[in-house]
Symmetry: C2
Subunit: 145 residues, 2 copies
DNA sequence: TCCCTATTTTTGCATTATCCAAACATTAGG
DNA sequence: CCTAATGTTTGGATAATGCAAAAATAGGGA
């Protein structure tokens, strides 16, 4: 019961601290991305060109948010919207040269940040942690139905 | 390595889903509070009257954010700012009658929501989960120094 | 071909959270 | 007293998110 309450509070707190910390490290490394923009870029680096909808699904944000993320990434010259040749409603989001160029460094910085943050946590606990994160998300999804 | 990346992504996703879900349940229960406003109210319900600074520390937000939270709660008539009698710089934040009145119902709704969300997760895993949340927060704090 | 509906994305508008820096009022120490 | 420190507010900015309506296009009948 005390434990349960911790969950709500601490997830909120960790998320804020995490975002703030990543923003600060990115800034000092000259990487101009918010946490959410990084999620999009990381998805594109891993999966290649894809539609806004697929991005929205993968990072679990709504379409309006993704539109804004892509707007901002496009302004920064990191991605381009390319109209799909077979369905002109669809935008394929493609990494620009600049977007590709920052991949390795940014990924390394992100991994380093996360490694620092999980310092001193056993692999087993980390595995449990991620398992619980996923389960909780699933539960919320099911509650919507 | 794959595991580590999950941490960053999933904490972000869970936090968003959690906030959204709580907002939706609160709305359908006629409770007019955002997740952050609830954190403040819950702190006041548990600890009684306290300064903005103590609230900021307990919910780990910065003072500007807390000023805004209190502004909004005051507009809703749930709390009052009471100037401290021994140090006039300090605002003591005091629950109003309306703020007290919603305590039991709101706490019950929040507990129910969280219980639904951790459905099917063992107490042991939950304990590990909270432990990791705390450790990760501590690590971030230490990285600042 | 034309119409209706569904799909993908954008737009406009609103709220909220968060940050920074500067201002303000008040207190406390030399 | 004067100065530095403290607790809070303000103004100005960016970002994430939500909702509803609009725009563009696709696809399936009639």
């Amino acid at each position: 019961m005390m434990l349960i309450k911790q969950v709500g509070v601490m997830v909120n707190i960790l998320n804020c601290k995490l975002k703030k910390h990543i923003a600060s490290v990115f800034k000092s490394e000259g990487i101009n991305l918010t946490a959410e923009q990084f999620l999009v870029m990381d998805t594109l680096w891993n999966q290649g060109e894809m539609t806004q909808q697929s991005i929205a699904y993968l990072i679990q944000k709504d379409k309006n948010s993704v539109t804004q993320f892509i707007d901002n990434l496009e302004k920064k010259g990191l991605v381009n919207r390319v109209v799909d040749s077979s369905d002109r409603r669809v935008n394929n989001i493609r990494l620009s040269k600049a977007g590709m160029a920052m991949k390795d460094n940014t990924k390394n910085v992100a991994i380093d940040v996360l490694n620092d943050i999980v310092e001193g946590i056993s692999e087993e606990d980390l595995r449990t942690f991620v398992k619980v994160l996923n389960k909780a998300c699933d539960n919320i999804e099911k509650l919507k139905e």
